[in-house]
Symmetry: C2
Subunit: 229 residues, 2 copies
DNA sequence: CGTCACCTTGATGGATATCAAAAACCGTGG
DNA sequence: CCACGGTTTTTGATATCCATCAAGGTGACG
């Protein structure tokens, strides 16, 4: 218990990445645990950012609604991901809404505390910077994808991304271990769910994927990757 | 010369925002000036991030090419903007290419120096964090825009954004003080320049804008804003 | 005054949204 | 076990938007 690390995922990408003992302890001490039931919202788009979350288990959906009420799903966040980082470190309203898609447990910090910690420990600040940078880079990638890839390529990308984030290998291939409706995929790609249904149907006929009611199994990742470009 | 600040834009958004004398001096001392002629590239997409730039005058275009050679223009950056911040603080390759669209002068820092400075001065780090966050937020906005707004709305948004970034008020309205081709607008919105030409033409007929060869004057910002949604 | 880049306009086709309807699936309660 | 209601999914017909291709016009500049 003494030299063993007290946190579970010392991997890169989190706030804890590569920290010395002292700042890591300070971070942990300041954190509280919270649980969110499926369907519960962590925060709403437009809210003042009072807390920063790090997912330790479960799944969170980040989405955004426009004035007309249409939804755009920005991404899912799983274990290790920092939810709310952009808003908290900027001290400006959340740009999206976060909803637990599964029972989810998180580590969380008050905005004031976390800002204080970054001020005190440059290493934490550097990690935050890296994480926010990752978020920016992802969104840059999405912008490029949306402007110069076709619909099929975008859907293939989303499938692969989901498979990577929440995929579970099974006999037939990689199953997306989370109830994904056609509408979900549509909101992630910026098309209607009719189109998603048609394209997925085509792929199933070709043996690329296997479809169920709220379930998708990727059977040929490489051919999908090829379609994704 | 003693209590007067030595930098020109102490406004927020830059690395210098709200700094005490000491870190500000350290930043300035570490910086070097560079000039880029029109058409020169500051860095290429995929390059290792060796330098961070802050534009002091001129204009830089950030764009991205996909494997098929099509261009996507991410944004223009003007005085005060930090170019390359995402990559430098993350120490991973530039996600886009930066090219001077006008004769441009910049302040620039080596990657190692700037990382060292953020380690030494939490205030600088906080500013960096805020800037990178801004970039992330912008891109989130673009993603939402691309997925749920139509072409007209996107073009209107781009026009308003340009007017805000590099606009100059004149008698007829707000002139975009930079030679913008239809193709430029197209690359920023993800459509072809044919479509841009048609839509702009329609707006000119309705008196919303006034068109010239490589020149656009926005005459009715509010109606454009309405179209932008 | 010729050349080149930029811009416009028209005709056409294809991809995708939209509208409408039905089918498959799931949980529930009789 | 079966019938029912709601959600998800499929499928079809049609319309719309936009890309594409083709051609000509317009202004800038040597």
């Amino acid at each position: 218990m003494d030299q063993a690390p007290r946190w579970t995922r010392p991997t890169m990408g989190t706030l804890f990445a590569g920290l010395e003992r002292e700042p890591a302890d300070a971070l942990l001490d300041a954190a509280t645990h919270r649980q969110f039931a499926e369907g519960t919202t962590l925060f709403h788009q437009g809210d003042a950012p009072s807390q920063l979350f790090q997912v330790s288990a479960g799944l969170v959906k980040l989405s955004r609604v426009n004035p007309e009420g249409e939804q755009t799903t920005l991404r899912f966040m799983g274990a290790g991901d920092l939810v709310g980082c952009v808003a908290v470190f900027q001290q400006s309203p959340f740009p999206a809404t976060a909803i637990a898609s599964k029972p989810t447990s998180v580590l969380c910090w008050g905005a004031a505390q976390i800002l204080d910690l970054t001020r005190r420990y440059p290493a934490i600040s550097a990690n935050a910077l890296k994480t926010v940078g990752d978020r920016a880079r992802e969104m840059i990638d999405r912008v490029a994808e949306l402007t110069d890839k076709g619909v099929e390529a975008r859907i293939a990308s989303v499938l692969l991304r989901l498979a990577g984030q929440v995929g579970r290998t099974c006999l037939a291939g990689v199953e997306i271990a989370y109830p994904v409706t056609r509408r979900d995929v549509a909101e992630m790609t910026g098309v209607t769910y009719f189109t998603v249904s048609r394209i997925l149907g085509g792929w199933q006929r070709q043996g690329l994927v296997q479809l169920g009611r709220v379930r998708i199994i990727v059977m040929e990742p490489q051919r999908l990757a090829q379609i994704a470009g």
